[in-house]
């Protein structure tokens, strides 16, 4: 009997405090998916500028041959930290932020399935980020052996190694817990009638991404743990004299690292798949083929990792297998690009800022995809390996790919989040500055790479000077253009034209049925879908 009374008490308590908390404790202790989504997005935005500042240091140094601003040791720290910050601190948290905000609203759930865990997934990040950044101020500086942390080089790091490894452990924990939460939310919290094959593409891509995270983040944790014990406890995992193999680390790292690039790009695909139909005023073309293509990409991403290692001296059979399987990925990816294009075909198109970013994504991500196919060819990769060609390739898929998708998604959903329209004119200026400068920044790097300029060097031969100068100019324009984004977001949060519930012209999805800004708790009663 007492338990029943207590049950009502607990339940009543749950319904009494409906609004957000006050002051700092609201953000520290929140279990609300929208608050946590906002925290993720703000954290990602801060990290974007920290990682971006590092990129600008790199590009300033590379503006002309010779050593200008930084010494080579610090340059190496910048390349390593820029990557670690951008991958683990910026782009992944940004997409988890989108997932937090949008998935419960898209599937008609009251919140994420495990709200306390959700808070924890986020609040690990600032601690991990601080530990990682603090290494820059240590004896010997931050990690400088590249974000891939290959032994034996990385084992020669200064005091930073243990800190960097523990930071990666924490970041990995955050990702795994976040992924578990997303899977459980999608599998258990859908409104009645929201069958799996009615879910918005963004939910689908995140569901598959979450599975990838659970599969590969623990493997990275294991790999960096082996680095730790090799350095501090005398194990021989990566030491040939003890019967280990440094190449083993590369296999472990890329077993994580290759799915990781799809962990970054699949949610981008999801966002693009929401934006393009909305501004084409047509449903997404080939919905089920999109779902299968996403699953296909995810599966293939787990069996292609050694294409990052064509030059380490694998047996021929290995080179062949990883070459063929890698090229297969082009097929499901092409299905997606085809479907987006077909969605726009004969659509009633309009080009608001989110759509501009989405269309730019389509073109520029495709460039990154094509250079990926080039490098998948093992004998050709022997030429491109560790040159600026690979730098151009992965920045094309990460910047005008993933980052453009994130920015486009932010413009797309900002009115829903804030209740205000962003400044369309400034948004368009931001887009054109970004789209033009990102190409000035990264396209010349293809030429540099094909001409033989190696990556991760602070100084270079004079024949590479011209394109490096062009690239650096693009970098600074691109970097400072992003300040506009901050201005537009802040302006939109503070005020602006009132957004309707629909925001756009009759877009599909449950999130457009609730008022803008979305109330603190959406779908206390699950909506009935169709």
């Amino acid at each position: 009997m007492t338990t029943i009374t207590q049950g009502h008490a607990a339940q009543d308590h749950a319904h009494d405090s409906h609004g957000p908390g006050h002051g700092l404790s609201r953000w520290l202790f929140t279990t609300n998916h929208k608050d946590i989504g906002t925290l993720y997005l703000v954290f990602a935005l801060v990290m974007l500028f920290i990682g971006g500042a590092m990129a600008l240091i790199i590009r300033a140094e590379l503006f002309q041959p010779g050593l200008q601003f930084v010494n080579p040791e610090f340059f190496n720290q910048m390349t390593s930290m820029h990557a670690l910050i951008m991958v683990f601190g910026m782009i992944m948290p940004a997409f988890v932020g989108f997932a937090n905000w949008m998935i419960p609203m898209m599937i008609g759930a009251p919140d994420m399935a495990l709200p306390r865990l959700n808070n924890w997934s986020f609040w690990i990040l600032p601690f991990a980020g601080t530990i990682l950044l603090s290494t820059l101020f240590m004896e010997g500086g931050g990690p400088a052996a590249g974000w891939t942390m290959y032994p034996p080089l990385v084992l020669q790091s200064g005091n930073s190694l243990a800190f960097a490894i523990f930071a990666i452990h924490l970041l990995g924990m955050s990702s795994i817990l976040g992924a578990i939460n997303i899977i459980v939310t999608v599998m258990n919290m859908r409104a009645p009638g929201m069958t799996l094959l009615k879910m918005p593409m963004f939910v689908w891509t995140w569901l598959i991404t979450a599975y990838l995270l659970i599969l590969v983040m623990p493997v990275l944790a294991g790999g960096v743990t082996m680095l730790l014990t090799d350095r501090f406890f005398g194990t021989s995992f990566f030491q040939a004299a003890g019967g280990g193999d440094p190449v083993l680390f590369q296999h472990i790292f890329w077993f994580f690292g290759h799915p990781e690039v799809y962990i970054i790009i699949l949610p981008s695909f999801g966002i693009i798949s929401q934006i393009i139909p909305a501004f084409s005023r047509k449903p997404l073309f080939g919905y089920s083929s999109m779902v299968y293509a996403t699953a296909g990409i995810a599966f293939l991403s787990c069996i292609v990792w050694a294409h990052h290692m064509f030059t380490v001296g694998m047996p021929l059979a290995g080179e062949m297998f990883f070459m063929m399987s890698t090229m297969l990925i082009a097929i499901p990816t092409a299905v997606k690009v085809f479907n987006w294009t077909a969605t726009m075909w004969r659509g009633s198109l309009s080009f608001e800022t989110p759509m501009l970013f989405a269309v730019a994504f389509l073109f520029l991500f495709a460039i990154g995809g094509f250079s990926g196919v080039m490098m998948a060819i093992a004998p050709v990769d022997f030429q491109y390996h560790d040159t600026y060609f690979i730098v151009a390739h992965f920045h094309y898929v990460l910047v005008p790919g993933a980052l453009f998708a994130a920015i486009g998604g932010a413009y797309f959903w900002l009115p829903k989040w804030t209740g205000h329209m962003y400044d369309e004119k400034l948004g368009k200026i931001h887009f054109w500055l970004s789209a033009v400068s990102v190409n000035i920044l990264f396209f010349p790097q293809h030429f540099l790479g094909l001409a033989g300029m190696p990556r991760r060097i602070p100084d270079y031969a004079t024949q590479f000077a011209d394109w490096n100068a062009v690239s650096s100019i693009g970098a600074f324009v691109f970097g400072f253009s992003q300040l506009m984004f901050v201005y537009i977001v802040v302006k939109c949060v503070r005020g602006g034209a009132k957004a309707t519930a629909q925001v756009w012209d009759n877009p599909e999805g449950l999130e457009w049925t609730v008022p803008s800004p979305a109330p603190y708790h959406t779908f206390d009663e699950p909506p009935l879908v169709r």
């Binding site: 749950a14 743990t225 406890f233 995992f237």
Partner: protein, 287 residues
């Protein structure tokens, strides 16, 4: 009671996660400083204490809410799914170390012995090296050692863990049949078997270090042996603590024949630890 299960329970605000993160960060920073040569044991202990207090209080909140009937069937399902996917992430963590073991045995050591398409490492660096298992590599890192035989303590520990799986299942069935006495006895037996396993493991480690000269630094054999069995032992410890908590909750009258997620989750975890051990017994000790 049925009424309380209509709506999904969303807790409003929680203090524990931030403090958990803080505790973890303090612990990790302490360990990192220790590894770099500072004496930061107090920092580590402080961090660990924070984590332990938070874990205790956080779980206490959840247990109280659960006993108060705040969780409906849907929340129960969320917990179940969450636990399953958490265990999968643990499986992948162990898979990483098993992969390292198989890679070293099947690829790295034969290549160091000159087998395969690239015999140069062997002929230039270690022409006399003949690969075999167990091995501490061509450099004989860590010096002479003896490997751990499978058919002593490891076989006994296998029997102990397998038996504990059986006793736990009996306890589970007793819970479902409302036979609380039988439940308590067999759950207590499972806890005892778990700690017995750990006791033997500790003995095995001291035997390895003091008599076999088998150490973490004994080349790739020592590395894989201690990292795999060590992480497994850590998980057995966690599982045994979880079982002990379940035992205390059973003695306090928690759980009903139909609603006992925490018990089942612990059982899943215990079986996972059990299966990992079978892999260890076969690939680390036996083959």
């Amino acid at each position: 009671m049925a009424h309380t299960q209509d709506k999904y329970y969303v807790p409003h605000g929680t203090r524990w996660p931030v403090f958990a993160s803080m505790g973890l960060a303090v612990t990790f920073v302490g360990v990192a400083l220790l590894l770099n040569g500072s004496s930061t044991l107090p920092v580590i202990l402080t961090g660990t204490a924070i984590v332990l207090v938070v874990v205790f209080r956080w779980f206490a909140d959840v247990v109280n809410e659960s006993e108060a009937g705040a969780y409906g069937a849907q929340v129960d399902r969320s917990f179940r799914m969450g636990m399953i996917w958490f265990i999968l992430s643990e499986v992948m963590f162990f898979a990483c170390f098993f992969a390292a073991l198989l890679y070293a045995r099947q690829l790295a050591l034969p290549w160091l012995g000159g087998i395969g398409s690239d015999p140069l490492t062997n002929s230039l660096l270690w022409p006399e090296f003949v690969p075999s298992w167990p091995s501490n590599g061509p450099g004989h890192i860590g010096g002479e050692y003896e490997s751990m035989p499978a058919w002593g303590i490891p076989a006994l520990n296998t029997a102990i863990l397998l038996t504990s799986g059986v006793t736990l299942t009996i306890a589970h069935h007793a819970l479902k049949d409302s036979r609380r006495g039988l439940l308590a006895v067999f759950l207590a037996l499972t806890v005892l078997l778990g700690f017995a396993f750990l006791g033997f493991q500790v003995y095995e480690y001291s035997h390895a270090y003091s008599e076999l000269n088998l150490k973490l630094s004994s080349g790739i054999y020592g590395s894989t042996f201690f990292m795999l069995t060590g992480f497994h032992g850590l998980h057995v410890t966690i599982g045994a603590i979880m079982l002990s908590v379940m035992l205390l909750r059973v003695l306090r009258g928690h759980f009903t024949p139909t609603r006992h997620f925490a018990f089942e989750a612990t059982a899943w975890y215990w079986h996972f630890v059990d299966v990992v051990w079978l892999g260890l017994f076969i690939f680390v000790y036996w083959l």
